[in-house]
Symmetry: C2
Subunit: 266 residues, 2 copies
């Protein structure tokens, strides 16, 4: 529900290819199409009841979003998530969202700041209710960052973060489970950032945002170290593996482990 802001695509496109792109991205991000699985064009086209033309165009866009990898004359596979790539994204987000926070402090309109405050208030209630363990908070976290980036007013910055990096980050979170025990700390950090923005203190806002993302990255690093030590292969997802179920799309391939969509709060 709070994820509404993340669904840029709720204004349905009249063309099949665009709609399909949204559907496939959602399916890949939420793990419905497992990472590493091969995507067969005829099978997928039949699955969605369309021709291969629009499908291929959607696949091209997925490739540009680096959600699938394609080799010519061979086919496309859903990207396999490596911890290194996740950390790379954190490093970039630290720089980019720090910038976004500074710009937001300079450009954001007062009503938008008030909305941001209201959003954090809802998060506060939620965290208090679920004792800081809620998985939901993780999504709320993305919602918060989403709002800040929107407030930066830099359209290309918005595009880079919201069209590509956030979907990747969400994908990793869905894969790894991520019922972060950092919800309470994260919320506090969020509030400090918003305070700085409300004070129009861009320098402080950037510093706080960078520290926040750095802390987030370190928590992820710890988590990765844990799951790696517990015997699982490094690139595997540490989530409930639904072995009794068959791949819903590709049908015949069953890589590492298939994970069902982690929640339906959108």
């Amino acid at each position: 529900m709070l994820l509404a802001a993340l669904n840029l695509e709720d204004a349905v496109s009249p063309t099949i290819a665009d709609r399909l792109f949204d559907q496939l991205r959602k399916a890949i991000v939420e793990g419905e199409i497992p990472p590493g699985s091969k995507i067969s064009e005829p099978v997928l086209a039949a699955r969605y009841g369309i021709s291969r033309g629009p499908l291929r165009e959607a696949m091209r866009r997925l490739e540009s979003s680096s959600l699938v990898e394609r080799k010519p004359n061979v086919g496309a596979r859903v990207i396999r998530l490596s911890s290194e790539q996740l950390l790379e994204i954190y490093v970039i987000r630290e720089a980019l969202e720090g910038l976004a926070a500074r710009l937001a402090a300079e450009h954001m309109a007062e009503p938008a700041i008030a909305e941001l405050r209201a959003l954090l208030e809802r998060h506060r209630i939620e965290v208090a209710r679920e004792g800081g363990q809620s998985y939901f908070q993780t999504e709320g976290d993305l919602d918060f960052h989403f709002c800040i980036v929107q407030g930066s007013g830099n359209r290309r910055l918005i595009s880079i973060l919201c069209n590509d990096l956030y979907h990747l980050a969400r994908m990793y979170r869905c894969q790894f489970g991520m019922k972060s025990d950092r919800a309470r700390d994260a919320l506090k950090e969020h509030e400090l950032v918003v305070d700085a923005i409300a004070d129009r203190d861009g320098e402080l806002a950037e510093w706080l945002m960078r520290r926040h993302i750095r802390a987030s990255r370190r928590a992820t690093e710890r988590r990765i170290a844990l799951t790696a030590a517990s015997g699982q292969p490094p690139a595997a997802n540490g989530l409930r593996s639904v072995c009794g179920r068959r791949d819903p799309v590709t049908g015949n391939e069953y890589p590492l482990s298939a994970s069902s969509p982690p929640d339906s709060t959108n």
Copy 2:
């Protein structure tokens, strides 16, 4: 010639769509297909002697690179360059390339640093020969930044900068002419950055790179203020308009002013 590093695509793809994407991107970036011009699928397909299928896939990739804008059931137009968007890119580059410089100082291998030094040496000779006015320097500038980013070792950072932002930056430069009088200063700034990287001083490298890009942005701002004051419309390109010639691709549309490819040093 020095642009060789920028041509990631010299390893020709066996598929038409990929080859066409490279060709079209080059044509758009260098202004052969003027900004704002409508792209007709049948015309373009005939022009390149291929079918509309691969063309559409290439167009989808161009759209992802934000080189063309598409409206459903209407068509695609080459993006029109606004000064605001150019400055937005500079702001992002400042954050991202500052990060890249820091990472390069930490991760770059010694031979790569030596290569970088050699590159700057060639630039030094070139600048001395052309008296700091050379247009070439502008391309060399991109080459330099390209190498630094490659040295960061962060694959996603490399992808964002080299696959999208650099092509846009190059497009703006081609459109605006850009025989920057800042070549001498820029070269000096480049050398300082490389010194910091060689010293493995990441913090300094980042600071120097940010300052360098900031100076570059300010020079561009001044240039924009000049051309805007000299009577041209703000989004127009301030380059020789070849009015006697017809649009080589779309054939029937002739927006603002068509500019021929600024150089052939690749």
